[in-house]
Amino acid sequence: MAATPNKSTGGPALDVQRIRADFPILQQKVHDERPLIYLDNAATSQKPQLVIDALTTYYTQYNANVHRALHYLGEQATARYEAVRKKVADFIGAGDSGTVVFTRGTTESINLVARAWGAARLQAGDEIIVTGMEHHSNIIPWQLCCRERGARLRWVELLPDGTLDLEQYREVLNERTRLVAMTHVSNVLGTLNPVAAMAHEAHQIGACVVVDGAQSVPYLPVNVAALDVDFFAFSGHKCGGPTGAGVCWIRRERLAEMEPFMGGGEMIERVHDDDATWAEPPYKFEAGTPNIADVIALGAALEYLEGLGMEAVHTYEQALTTYALDTLAALPGVRIFGSAPERGGAVSFAVEGLHPHDLSQYVDQHGIAIRAGHLCAQPLMRRLGVPAVSRASLSYYNTTAEIDALAASIRRAQKFFGHG
């Protein structure tokens, strides 16, 4: 199979070899001159040179604090920082850039919602629904919120194919439900959840919806208006941007209901001795000096993705994911977790008789980076009945040859550890 997807799917195909040249880290050799095969993209993506350049350019040419400095550098930094807000709004179909709040990443975004909206509005007896496939970052903030407000956490269970049990969702959804917290694409099972349909049902009974978009934004075109949710969180570093810059998109109506998240500079309007008034959103939620350089470089990363075209990225990654699923499932003793018809690029699996840590360590010697462990989803591991899984997660710069190399390395690991 060639590295480019089937032409019949339409749209411009990706020239992956050319794309790979944009990523300096992918040029290096590891462990005895083996080419690096990076299959841990669900954890973090690699960065194209232009993102790295954006950081350098910021620090060498217009480093200044934003929003307050009335000098050349301050104006430059502010203009570029705010331009990224607009770029993000366009990238996720929000339109209104005033609804884009910059955070450190998905975790901080969800905590922002849990504090500024959840803890400020929930009452004893209220219910929050989470799903059995959530990352800890979309569980713990709600557990903390429930503990503080006397609210109750309810769970949506999974069907055997790794999709959500929508009938059971309708059963747990009730007039006490205030919020539904769900991932768009699972970081373990790959499942693409029917967010728009579930959000519609939640809204009908007056509940709000917060979506963890960490795995979807790098994988497929996302449109928050079409999803019609209330909060949408994602991390820049999984989209080719630097760590430390993420996004919390908040629907206009919700912004008006929210209390501040953190207090400090930037988020105020007027400060008296005993109290204060707040800046207008989104600044109300951005206390202190933000990660200016990282946000500006996130803008470069989104430009890079736009240049490739998210439709083309999605088409390629889907073809590659299918290839990975077929290749790994064909190996003796390998079991794939999750067979949702619509899915993202995380492929989790078990190799009979081989602990994920041993497998990960073994394939690493062949220069292959995969992930092993509970993947920050212990409730899901319990539901799958395993303590840990192995995961290969794909990006548009990966190739079928790299997946073949992983498969060959797994076969050798099976022989090394005396199974298969």
């Binding site: 602990h355 994920p356 840590h357 360590q361 010697q365 462990g373 303590p387 840990a388 550890f417 005396g418």
Partner: protein
């Protein structure tokens, strides 16, 4: 592949494939449980002391080759020693795994076999999981 073969020495793979002192434990028998949240490893120990000696140590649970082999080797080399000796042994072994002291060539082959794990800092926790659990179990028995 030199580092990898050092990590997974034959003696380690032998203990992994044929663990000694491994037995399905009932909840009542379990003295201590240990989790390695990094990798989801779960280990349970049943420790019985008699007349100041660690008479039996049994283990069960799920884990990687290193954590499983290390538990097996620990049980194999410490059973029958006095509680005090076991305390010193655990302290010495854990310190050596952390690079805080040298491995002593006079130590049992099983301990020395785990030396290769030190080259993989993330795996040191796997190799010391059972040992920390044993320490905790003995502390509880003293109380």
């Amino acid at each position: 592949m030199d580092d990898l073969e050092q990590l997974y020495q034959d003696l380690i793979l032998d203990h992994y494939k044929q663990p000694r002192h491994r037995q399905a434990l009932t909840d009542e028998e379990v003295s201590v449980e240990a989790d390695n949240p990094l990798c989801g490893d779960q280990l349970r120990l049943a420790v019985e002391c008699d007349a100041g000696r660690v008479a039996t140590i049994r283990h069960d649970g799920k884990g990687c080759a290193i954590s499983q082999a290390s538990a097996s080797m620990m049980c194999e080399t410490l059973t029958g020693r006095t509680v005090e000796e076991v305390g010193v042994a655990v302290r010495d072994f854990v310190a050596a795994m952390r690079g805080e002291r040298e491995f002593d060539p006079s130590w049992p082959d099983e301990w020395l076999a785990l030396q290769g794990v030190c080259k993989f800092p993330l795996r040191v926790k796997c190799a010391t999981l059972a040992w920390h659990a044993l320490q905790k179990a003995l502390e509880r028995q003293v109380e």
